[in-house]
């Protein structure tokens, strides 16, 4: 929709500044959208605050996660008087009776940083009558971290050149047991199964309308998506780094790789680290992922984490026939009933569920732990490792032949044990 922008003077400038603030807060707002916003406001008029809010919202927001950031930016920028009052009260905490502890809302940190920049405004002078040695309070709208979980961010060592080379070799040898999917799209093929009528007639026109040959087509194949759910609790701590390295390598694999790779970590809660693993540099990616997940080397709650995944993420990432790779040792703190229900639901939602257990030796191993017994019947393929300390060994273990891995043998052992 092209056309001259309406001249609305100061308002257009303000909208452009507001768009700049949104951009700094993380929303992808380009100049095209700013022009759209000005036209939209001109179309709606500038009478009701609520209408103005929803007009800008319709143009600038394109994902549900952005709504909160937009909300905070809008309040800060278009001067909601009550909000400023609260911000002022942060600066004068020693006044009696003023303070109710106001928890910073989500996205406020980003919005505040975007609009106020890096300079911190001077706190106003203390009213007379208060002590001179009252503490200097800086205005900082940082959202408080949750104190109830044990927070521990993991510090990764730098990857050496040998390790990176080793990782690439391992990935080259890797073959997860999954088939490519046939899609519903067709492509021309010499030995296809179906006739391509359009191409046949176009070819026939060259012979003056006589159909001399039949052009054929076949279905295209596509690769499924991969979702990796990785245990980072205490019992898996020495393998976390290696597994994340593996995940990063899988994500950036060239050639016949996966369509989309999503990564999740869990210990006491589930964290989505897909965005961080997209960084090309391994160190940067792992550093970001290590900072984002906050339950490293803690306890294990597989059932609760899988329940969170099923509820919040399964419908969004398992849509087009995805393969799920679950990397855990199966030792769980929760009860086995919830775990077996949740893993059954996960199994029903995805195309293929592969369980990778890098800790167990498989000679003479019989599944006795309740968590393992609950999970084993619901996976399609089970791979256990010897004492794995390197990516190469892990890759070898995964590439070993046999579609179901060790599952059939272990199921027999499990039945024998209960009998």
């Amino acid at each position: 929709m092209s056309g001259a922008l309406p001249e609305t003077g100061r308002l257009s400038e303000n909208i452009a500044h507001f768009a700049r603030a949104l951009r700094r807060a993380g929303l992808p707002v380009g100049p095209g959208r700013v022009a759209d916003a000005i036209r939209a406001v001109a179309a709606v008029g500038f009478t009701e605050r609520e209408d103005f809010y929803w007009t800008l919202h319709a143009v600038f927001v394109s994902r549900p996660e952005q709504r909160m950031i937009f909300h905070q930016c809008f309040r800060l920028y278009w001067r909601d008087p009550q909000f400023l009052e609260h911000m002022m009260s942060f600066m004068l905490p020693s006044l009696k009776g003023v303070q109710e502890d106001r928890r910073a809302e989500a996205a406020e940190k980003r919005a505040a940083q975007a609009l106020l920049g890096d300079s911190r405004p001077e706190p106003p002078p203390l009213p007379p009558g208060l002590e001179e040695d009252a503490p200097q309070i800086e205005m900082d709208a940082t959202a408080t971290q949750s104190a109830e979980e044990r927070l521990k961010t993991l510090d990764f060592e730098q990857m050496s050149v040998e390790e990176i080379a080793e990782a690439k070799r391992m990935i080259a040898r890797l073959s997860l047991p999954v088939q490519p999917l046939t899609s519903r799209r067709m492509k021309p093929a010499g030995q296809g199964q179906r006739i391509d009528p359009r191409a046949t007639i176009r070819a026939a026109l060259r012979q003056g309308g006589e159909v001399m040959e039949l052009r054929l087509q076949r279905r295209r194949i596509r690769w499924p998506n991969l979702v990796v759910i990785c245990d980072i609790s205490g019992s898996m701590s020495q393998y976390s780094r290696m597994v994340l390295h593996f995940l990063h390598a899988v994500m950036h694999q060239r050639g016949s790789g996966w369509a989309r790779v999503h990564g999740f970590t869990f210990g006491t809660r589930l964290t989505n680290i897909t965005r961080h693993l997209r960084a090309r540099d391994v160190d940067a990616a792992l550093a970001q992922a290590g900072a984002e997940a906050q339950d490293w080397s803690g306890g294990t709650r597989i059932g609760a984490s899988l329940a969170a995944f099923n509820r919040d993420w399964s419908r969004r990432v398992l849509g087009q026939g995805a393969v799920v790779l679950l990397i855990t040792d199966g030792l769980d703190r929760d009860d086995a009933g919830m775990l077996s229900k949740e893993i059954e639901r996960l199994h029903l939602s995805c195309r293929r569920l592969i369980w990778l257990n890098p800790l167990l030796r498989w000679e003479g191993f019989a599944p006795k732990a309740a968590g393992i017994r609950a999970m084993l019947p619901h996976v399609d393929s089970f791979r256990a490792g010897h004492s794995v300390a390197s990516l190469a060994a892990l890759g070898q273990v995964i590439s070993s032949p046999g579609d179901g891995g060790e599952k059939a043998r272990l199921m027999r052992l499990m039945v024998d044990n209960t009998a």
Binding site: M1, G32, W54, T55, A58, I201, R311
Partner: protein, 294 residues
């Protein structure tokens, strides 16, 4: 030809006239889409009324509704147009068609929804509903970009066909996949959320007017309480309406644990959720609801 509504209030009046109770935010987005000629991208959970708004808009403006249901593998042949190959072969054989222009002409063209939306319609530009876009794959999204930016489609053998008046385009998505930003950029985005108590009450009153006021309040309060519970799939507005109609068919005056146990399948569609709600849990929620309403 109906005139397009001239303000947000006029849009609200139009929607209410058709029995659709939407939020002010939705009315703003619809007004902007109509005024600026941009497509609407509505995203939200299943059963919140995204498809319904297109039908209501078409009925309210007196335009034809053209619906394109997306599925995996949807391509140009099924979305834009296809050639009637059998007729072409016969025409070639019978010698009626001479050369290229003859056999690739409009009379052998089968129109599909996207092309039909570009044709002039009596009564004004049609409403084009592209439903569940997240089920189609990325190549189709790339294909849609041309259609949505310039409102024209290209058929290789014929040429470009441009719409004389841009159609009113509404895209919906259930978010089983992230739709590419290039497509969202060309649209006005709106996330359709579950309604609050008052709005859902108004929706139910307008859709199921025969139900008594007391029953309607109980039904809405119960469903609102359910949405706060830890369920796999929270019930949407469509489920509320279905449940009210079921209760009406069973001549129920007020909710009771037995009635809820019998009709739970109308609001919850997953066995795990139904089992979680059976018996004590449902009774507890019902008692809280009745206490709050009293």
């Amino acid at each position: 030809m109906t005139v397009l509504p001239g303000s947000i209030d006029a849009v609200e009046a139009l929607l209410e006239g058709q029995g659709y109770v939407g939020s002010r935010a939705l009315a703003t987005v619809v007004f902007l889409g109509l005024k600026l000629g941009k497509p609407l991208f509505l995203e939200g959970e299943a059963g919140v009324g995204k498809t319904e708004i297109a039908k209501v808009l078409a009925a309210g403006l007196g335009r034809k509704l053209i619906r394109l249901q997306c599925h995996e593998g949807l391509d140009a042949a099924a979305a834009v147009s296809e050639w009637n190959f059998a007729a072409q072969m016969i025409a070639i054989r019978a010698g009626e068609a001479a050369g290229r222009a003859g056999v690739f002409s409009e009379e052998f063209l089968i129109e599909r929804p996207l092309l039909a939306a570009m044709r002039p319609q009596p009564g004004g530009a049609p409403v084009l509903l592209i439903d569940e876009l997240d089920r189609a794959d990325e190549p189709f999204e790339a294909f849609l970009l041309e259609a949505l930016s310039d409102f024209q489609v290209t058929i290789p053998e014929l040429g470009t066909i441009k719409a004389p008046e841009p159609p009113i385009v509404i895209l919906t998505s259930n978010r089983t996949r992230e739709v590419h930003d290039a497509l969202k950029r060309r649209c006005l985005y709106h996330w359709v959320d579950y309604p609050a108590f008052d709005r859902e009450l108004a929706i139910l009153k307008s859709r199921v007017p025969e139900a008594s006021a007391a029953l309607t309040r109980e039904v809405v309060a119960f469903v609102q309480a359910l949405r706060g519970a830890d369920l796999f799939k929270r019930p949407g507005v469509a489920e509320t309406i279905d449940w009210a109609k079921c209760l009406l068919a069973l001549d129920v005056i007020a909710l009771s644990p037995e009635v809820i146990a019998d009709t739970l399948g109308a609001i919850l569609k997953y066995q795990d959720d139904i089992q979680k709600l059976n018996g004590l849990e449902a009774t507890k929620i019902l008692n809280e609801v009745k206490k709050a309403l009293a």
